[in-house]
Structure formats: structure tokens, C-alpha cells
């Protein structure tokens, strides 16, 4: 259990990788950056960590997280926003659109007249989180570094390309 808290998570900077994608309108390649997560902490780990951090049992923490998720779901999907102090707010967003035969997806589309808009135009409901100003500013000020020339970057590129690490 002690190992959970001893793990170093404070990296102080965010890693990114650069990739190129064809621009649909011009056909030329454009360069884009994508943040690379250092590690993925699964729900078992987070539950264990949270229980230890708040000094409650893991079972209690699991029940409390379930109740928290129920509460967020209830409020957000009934049209309210949930604002957590010093963190941000959970809100819903909707997408009203039309069926695109070419991409086989619903794409956002508006109407010329307000009177033509119907609730049935809405094709998707999404739950979003928006950080508070303080955390957004903190994230914006975080140092960035390109991982492309590092071993970590190579591993990330391989995993994106579907290349499995070979067993020596």
C-alpha cells in the first residue's frame, strides 16, 4: 500500500509529439501537436490512492465514488451544471446536425431560420468538464517538451503505429 503514495507523479512538464495530417480542403500536409500521457492510472489504482489519501477504507471510497458519479450524472443530464470549487464544472453539450453520407457521421449543421429549429435536430448529448480559471492558467504556464527524440517518444510512436515491442 505504501508504494502507491511513493510513486513520483510530479513531472513538472508536459510531453508532446508532432504528427502530420492531410488538410481536407487544400490536400497539403499540416503539422499538429498532440500531448502524450506519461502513464495511465486505472480505477483500481485511483481508488486505492484516494482511500489512502483521505484515510478511509477502499470499499467506502468505491461506494462514495459511485455515489459521486450518480450525482454528477443526475444533475448534468437534467440540464444543470455541477461546479466543484477550485476544480471546474461539469456541463452537458449538444450537437444538432445532419447525416453526412460521405463520412457516414452526424455533422454539425444549422438552419437558416430560427423557427425551423426543432429539439429533434439534436443528435448527440455529451458530458464535458471545464477547468476553473486558476487551473487553466496553471496548465497554460506548464513547460512543454517534444518527446520525439526520446525513448519514450519512440515507444509512443510504435504504439500508435500498432508495433508491439519485441521480446529480446
Amino acid at each position: 500500500m505504501a508504494k502507491v503514495l511513493n510513486l513520483k507523479t510530479n513531472t513538472g512538464k508536459l510531453g508532446y509529439t508532432i504528427y502530420e495530417r492531410e488538410d481536407e480542403s487544400t490536400g497539403s500536409l499540416k503539422s499538429l501537436a498532440r500531448l502524450v500521457p506519461y502513464s495511465k492510472f486505472d480505477e483500481l489504482y485511483i481508488n486505492k490512492w484516494a482511500a489512502q489519501f483521505m484515510k478511509v477504507s477502499e470499499a467506502q471510497m468505491r461506494m462514495a465514488f459511485n455515489a459521486l458519479a450518480d450525482a454528477v450524472e443526475y444533475f448534468v443530464l437534467n440540464g444543470h451544471s455541477v461546479t466543484l470549487k477550485n476544480l471546474g464544472n461539469f456541463t452537458f453539450s449538444t450537437k444538432s446536425g445532419i447525416w453526412n453520407e460521405r463520412t457516414q457521421k452526424w455533422t454539425s449543421a444549422g438552419k437558416e431560420n430560427a423557427a425551423d429549429c426543432q429539439a429533434s435536430d439534436i443528435k448527440g448529448t455529451y458530458i464535458r468538464i471545464r477547468l476553473c480559471t486558476e487551473l487553466r492558467e496553471k496548465l497554460g504556464a506548464t513547460q512543454l517538451y517534444c518527446v520525439d527524440d526520446t525513448t519514450f517518444g519512440e515507444q509512443e510512436a510504435n504504439s500508435q503505429a500498432g508495433v508491439r515491442p519485441t521480446n529480446p
Binding site: L29, S31, W49, A67, L68, I122
Partner: protein, 149 residues
């Protein structure tokens, strides 16, 4: 089944001009206390555990997510960081690989510097847990006239 009220908003569209869109309307803002009260009334958890879950969730954000990790919060879903790239700021193109000459290395350095400067809007991506995603799919909508509010 959950119900969201909808209204109509005017938004700019790519390429210029404006169009009207049907959209959900937010009703009330629920704070920490409102959330905890709901948890106490609708589950078996006590106040200590409810407060612990909210505080642990906030602490996990700053410990894991803000340091570039992805975290999966039990029952809620997965949180990760994303960024946007302002491609208009990138005028240079990536040199053809391999970057084995000094000239190519210099070009690559300049290109990477431009891409880094074009990174903007670091955001949090939230992928709700499966149960929450399914609940979001079954939301019904009730049309209202915004002027009435």
C-alpha cells in the same frame, strides 16, 4: 429518463455567416454542497465518505492529470489532457527524413520550434464511463422559448 430543455441559438459558421442551432439550455448551477447533499439522500454513504470522494477527486486532478498522466476515476470515467495547434502559425514544413545533415537538422529544429509555439488551448478531455455514456444517449429534449426564462 432525464430531460433537458432546449432553445435556439445563433452561431457563426466556418466560411462566414451565421445559422441557427437547436441547443440544450442549462438550468441551475450545483455546487459542492448540493452535490454532497444529493449523495447523502440517494445513497448509503455517510457525510465523511461523500466529502472524501469529492476532495479525493480534486486532489487526484492536481496529482495526476495536471502532471500529464491519464486517470480513470471509478464510476465517473477517464480524464486526459489534449491540446490544440494553431496551424496558421506554422509556416515551415518538416524536412524529408533522414535528418542526417546539419542543414536538415537545423530545418527540423526550426520547424519543431514553430510547432511548439503554435500549441495552444490545453484542455481536459473527459470520456464518461460506459453507464454514463448510455444514460446520455437516452436523454429526452423539451423545447422551450428562451424569452420565457
Amino acid at each position: 429518463m432525464a430531460t433537458i430543455r432546449t432553445g435556439v441559438v445563433e452561431r457563426p459558421i466556418p466560411g462566414g455567416g451565421k445559422k441557427y442551432f437547436a441547443t440544450g439550455v442549462h438550468s441551475h448551477r450545483i455546487d459542492d454542497d448540493g452535490l454532497i447533499d444529493y449523495m447523502l439522500q440517494n445513497s448509503q454513504v455517510g457525510r465523511t465518505s461523500a466529502v472524501a470522494a469529492v476532495e479525493a477527486f480534486k486532489a487526484a486532478f492536481t496529482t495526476f492529470l495536471m502532471n500529464g498522466h491519464t486517470m480513470q476515476v471509478p464510476a465517473l470515467g477517464t480524464f486526459s489532457l489534449t491540446c490544440g495547434t494553431d496551424t496558421k502559425k506554422i509556416t515551415k514544413i518538416a524536412p524529408q527524413k533522414p535528418w542526417d545533415t546539419d542543414e536538415k537538422k537545423e530545418q527540423a529544429k526550426e520547424w519543431r520550434k514553430q510547432v511548439q509555439e503554435a500549441i495552444d488551448k490545453i484542455n481536459v478531455r473527459f470520456t464518461p464511463a460506459r453507464r454514463m455514456r448510455n444514460a446520455a444517449k437516452s436523454v429526452s429534449f423539451q423545447q422551450i422559448t428562451l424569452d420565457e426564462d
